[in-house]
Symmetry: C2
């Protein structure tokens, strides 16, 4: 029963969710206390326990709310690519676009950009609590992506494919995190973040070319022993 005279139309629960998401993204899960969240959300600690029970469950709720539409979109796009290609290998660029695009496009809204930062930070967090949450919400669609990409790359041996998938994940994570590391090293040049479609095309240019590259022949089990220069 919402009060029609309330100055804030948002509920206490929603305020906690959005404030926690922002603070976690800025400072990391472990460095944000429930006290600071409730202070910024104009609530108290008992409210967090009432709605979410624990701090971990609060993080999980944030991820589930955000990743549900993201995962649905990725799955829809991936399945569309696979259907279009039928029995032949799907185009690498389209597979990449289906998986990376929805995440990159989040950056076009302020709240989406915040979640992108949170998602990137948490995806490399060594804390088992954080890891289990991230893995749980992403594993299904990530598996679908990896399988589709594998079909798109029959020219790669398993080890090379494995390493390149790591590069894709790392690139995506780093761009989404947008942590200012590279900014310090470049002059005043424009950053393309205000146009997510251009940003996505730039990423696809880079990653597609990387996946298309023919592996350098090198010492491999059963292969020749001398690397080409």
């Amino acid at each position: 029963m919402p009060a029609n005279s309330a100055p804030d139309s948002t509920s206490t629960r929603d305020r906690i969710l959005s404030v926690a998401e922002r603070l976690f993204a800025e400072r990391g899960y472990n460095k944000v206390s429930l006290r600071s969240i409730t202070a910024a959300a104009e609530a108290n600690m008992a409210a967090v326990h009432y709605y979410f029970r624990t701090k971990e469950a609060l993080l999980r709720a944030i991820f589930e709310a955000r990743t549900a539409p993201l995962t649905a979109e990725r799955q829809r796009l991936l399945h569309a690519v696979l259907e279009r290609s039928g029995d032949s290998p799907p185009p690498v660029r389209e597979v990449l676009a289906a998986f990376i695009g929805p995440g990159i496009r989040l950056a076009s809204t302020p709240s989406g950009a915040i979640f992108n930062q949170l998602s990137a930070i948490c995806s490399v967090d060594p804390d088992p609590t954080v890891r289990s949450i991230v893995f749980a919400v992403h594993d299904d669609v990530a598996q679908l992506f990896v399988d589709a990409l594998r079909r798109a790359c029959p020219h790669l041996d398993a080890a090379t494919f494995f390493l390149r998938v790591q590069c894709i994940f790392g690139s995506m994570m780093y761009v989404r995190a947008n942590n200012g590391r590279v900014d310090r090293l470049m002059p005043l040049e424009a950053q393309p973040r205000d146009d997510v479609d251009t940003l996505l095309e730039m990423m696809l240019d880079f990653l597609t070319a990387g996946m298309a590259a023919q592996p350098t022949p090198t010492a491999r089990p059963g292969g020749p022993s001398k690397a080409a220069q």
Copy 2:
């Protein structure tokens, strides 16, 4: 720095350093207490204060000890590449190899692999304390690398170059972190980590191809308004 076979020949200070490095790499700076470090190093908390004064200074000492030879090697290789190429653009692959190689090669020793994990985790840590340490020890050589790579890539506009550098950093970080995210998504296929030279060549294949790619013409300030498909 002598052999690590003697259990008690190491000094208390060295044991604290190496135990802290391992625990920080496994669980992250914020999740490791000085208590757990001193317990594992068979010392006590007062010893940490005696040798390093604070937890932050302990992390800084770890990084400075590890990055000093790493940075020297990177600078040596980068300068060698630049001298070889003279006034003409240096080869992209060689510039990449000079910067990425020394870090990747650390993975060939157990202690180097531990520091690789620590370095990767800390390079995306949002904590300002951690960030300032990482930036301080890496900024000089990273700047040298970015400048050299810029010279190697005259075919790229500033925004595209900027984004691709982020992809390089992200790829390097993710591979060095080796956090098990991708392992979950792949079957029993071999991981190439036992041969760091092959691993480095694989990364160079991918990243060099990505940097060489011609950018997709798209809507850019002063450019045509319709993107090619």
